[in-house]
Symmetry: C2
Amino acid sequence: MVESCIIHPVGIVRRRGETAWIEVFGPYRDAMLGLEGFSHIQVIFWFHENDTAEIRRTLRVHPRKDPSNPLTGVFATHSPKRPNLIGLTRCRITGIDGSRIAIDAIDARDGSPVIDIKCFIPDVQPPEDVRVPDWV
Amino acid sequence: MVESCIIHPVGIVRRRGETAWIEVFGPYRDAMLGLEGFSHIQVIFWFHENDTAEIRRTLRVHPRKDPSNPLTGVFATHSPKRPNLIGLTRCRITGIDGSRIAIDAIDARDGSPVIDIKCFIPDVQPPEDVRVPDWV
């Protein structure tokens, strides 16, 4: 049984007003080769401001912080309060300059550690019969 | 600067022949409430068999292990060799029974630690002008 996994951030989210980008750390720059062929990436980041034992014990929330939404397990939400503070957002690449990947927008705070980047490959066949609950 | 993030697995991938499921660990079961309202989840797991310093130093690969594909940075691929061994797959839920989430299929090995589960919410508006390189 794996007890824990150690993640080393590979970059950081930067935001200034309407501008957002990812700064990839030097040791990981070689992993960017070929990103220019993609229009979109999936950015996996860490909700670092929530990294406390108490928040990581949060297992149920009212989605979108709306008390009228039913109490819901965090695995059935995208809440930034969860046992492992992983955020996931698809972003459009607006430019690449050295170690900097400019993106259209991201729902991460300035300073959030980036823990992985994956190219976005659209579905050959979109999923059928997708079902979501009423609160969505 | 965040030096490292500690991940505690919340479950494990199980596969037996054509059958696949996620076994959520006891302390995290409360986080499953409401999953039954969704048809699909995004499963984030750890490529535990690749957790060596050498593999985690791999920054470039030939996608799909095909030497005729151009050498590509791992951030521009879904390679299981990457600095942080994070895998991401959208799965259809075929049933939920206690701590077990049966799924249609997953490209993770039996025994892979599950590090997060997120509900799948389809795009209100699919991304436009998606571009991918020729090897895709």
